[in-house]
Symmetry: none
Subunit: 188 residues, 4 copies
DNA sequence: AATGAATGAGTCTTCATTCAT
DNA sequence: AATGAATGAAGACTCATTCAT
């Protein structure tokens, strides 16, 4: 990817996190990325396109990040803990500030076929874990989306509260939260 | 509350859900509420204030709605199910379209003291349930915020996926999801 | 018509004549009309609409102006001379600077039904003259549009050359031109 | 003339006819001419210069085209008819789409000395015809510009109406129009 | 209390022009 | 000679806010 395009995307992500969707102007992006306003339009059709491409850019990043330090020889529980903490750290460290923030909800043309395909790819290692867990009767027989929401994604929701200043959480509480979310999906 | 003020708030909520935060103009609100533009400024200092008051308005609504059909004679499990389903129906029916959508995240002056107090009030019945559950050793000894995120709030997250078109869910799956989220917080 | 709308139209006509279609900015119009930029958009949908409405405004003016001092008791020749000179003076004095300048050619939505109807009205006295002339066999049996182009409209074309600085013309030459254009349409 | 310069001029003429003066960008011209944007500036100082040179280019074309099939052995009437029809066909066929359209009216630096000289050259055969006609007392003793406007140029004006869709004209009507315009300039 | 016309700063986007390659 | 990425001023249009009525 061109140097400038990359810089524009990075600048947009940063500003989107700070200012939100409204209050994000192309001039601001240009200034932050240290390019001329017009330059943005060489790489993106318009503001919408910029946000869409950013979305895909971020999804790609999350895809890589969520499966860090995961390999098939690990036990299900180990994989679960690792992914949960990957999400947690990514969220808390602001590596993907837009995750779970609904910032992309009002883009027209969203939920397109390509987006869904991308999400498939994103969660491939997640889906594999859930499939295996259900196959050996360790997990409850529910759709992967439901299992994920009940367990893995709680990581992001807790992180959001921490970031917003509404929640402090110790290491042992974090550990207990992981175990509790694990309880939600295993058979008892 | 004045008739006009009420109408303005209702119009704002509707438009906010449809158009998102950006693309919401005072003129649009005035038209939707059948009120002159200037009238809005009788009841609200500025656009920010309108959104803030709307936020509180909505929180108040949710407060009432979440505890519908709840009374102290019900068992903990019954209360949990009822509140979970109250949240679910409210979310799915679009009664509080802004719940969990992050639409209010970028308001300046947010997370103020009054907001937190309001949230306390909002979750008073929720907190009572968690406190009782922990007292009788049925629930895990975790902060109420964590318990809530792991269990009750999954209702909203699932509802959001349903609304976005990314998830279909049957009645039996819904029931299983409630049970699973219950498993997350009880001791095993 | 509102005072401001009138002022905007007048300003636009003036600037259009001076700067042409390109190089006419809404800011210029606003400044010339002594209104705020946004005010223009209370009365006109967009730039196109402004130009369209100006066009009709001008056609209306020409309609009144071309038939000044005309009445049915005058002979055909007298009426012809009067209309020819009305057009001439209007053109030369810059009363309708856009006449015959093709400034409206690139408006989309032009040549609409309403425009044609307006032109009918505009040329009603002209058409009546040509019809009478053909009825008494004084004029050649041609369509009114053709007769008009060959005779009356030469007034504008000559005026345009005078304005552009390409032609000087004396009173007697003017008179001769009227007679010559009369020769074009009468039977010999 | 260089191949590229020619291509740029041709592209500009085409786009000018379609899009009008406004809505013509150098990028569009470059794309249409299959040339890099910067290349245009090898051959033309700026956009104004491009339009000026295009104007001269077109005048040169018209000069050649108007005198096609004309030679001195033809009678005045024959020459008149031929030139009238040359103009007519050129206009109607869109060979010089900018003729009579006022597209060049607002160029600064226009009506320069060179432009006038060019026009002399352009109308040399026309002027010769009018001079001969006046010398033998066939034509009225008026300036050539006036004679031209009253007779020859009606060709363009009628053509414009036909193109705009405001006028349909049969062959016999066309013929009658030529005769009528001839009547305007001859002595009776 | 209510209106809605008016404002003008600010938004997204285009485009004539330059310049390193 | 030719390219086309980059620039940033300027354009059309919007909208939060005010104020005379």
């Amino acid at each position: 990817m061109t140097d400038k395009k990359e810089r524009i995307l990075v600048a947009t992500e940063k500003l989107l996190a700070t200012h939100g969707f409204h209050g994000l102007s192309m001039q601001m992006v240009a200034k932050e990325a240290q390019v001329a306003t017009g330059t943005i339009y060489r790489y993106f059709n318009d503001k919408n396109d910029l946000l869409h491409q950013l979305h895909e850019h971020i999804l790609g990043y999350i895809a890589k990040r969520i499966s860090r330090n995961i390999n098939d020889s690990m036990s299900l529980k180990q994989r679960y803990r690792t992914m949960w903490l990957n999400l947690w750290h990514m969220s808390v460290n602001g590596e993907a500030p837009l995750i779970n923030q609904g910032q992309f909800q009002h883009l027209p043309r969203d939920n397109s076929y390509e987006k869904k395909a991308l999400k498939k790819q994103l969660f491939s290692c997640v889906n594999q874990m859930f499939d295996e867990g259900k196959a050996c009767l360790l997990f409850k027989p529910l759709k992967n989306e439901i299992l994920s929401t009940l367990s893995l994604e709680t990581s992001c929701y807790l992180a959001r509260q921490k970031i917003n200043g509404g929640l402090e959480i110790t290491d042992s509480e974090l550990n207990a939260a992981i175990e509790a979310s694990w309880d939600a999906i295993i058979q008892h």
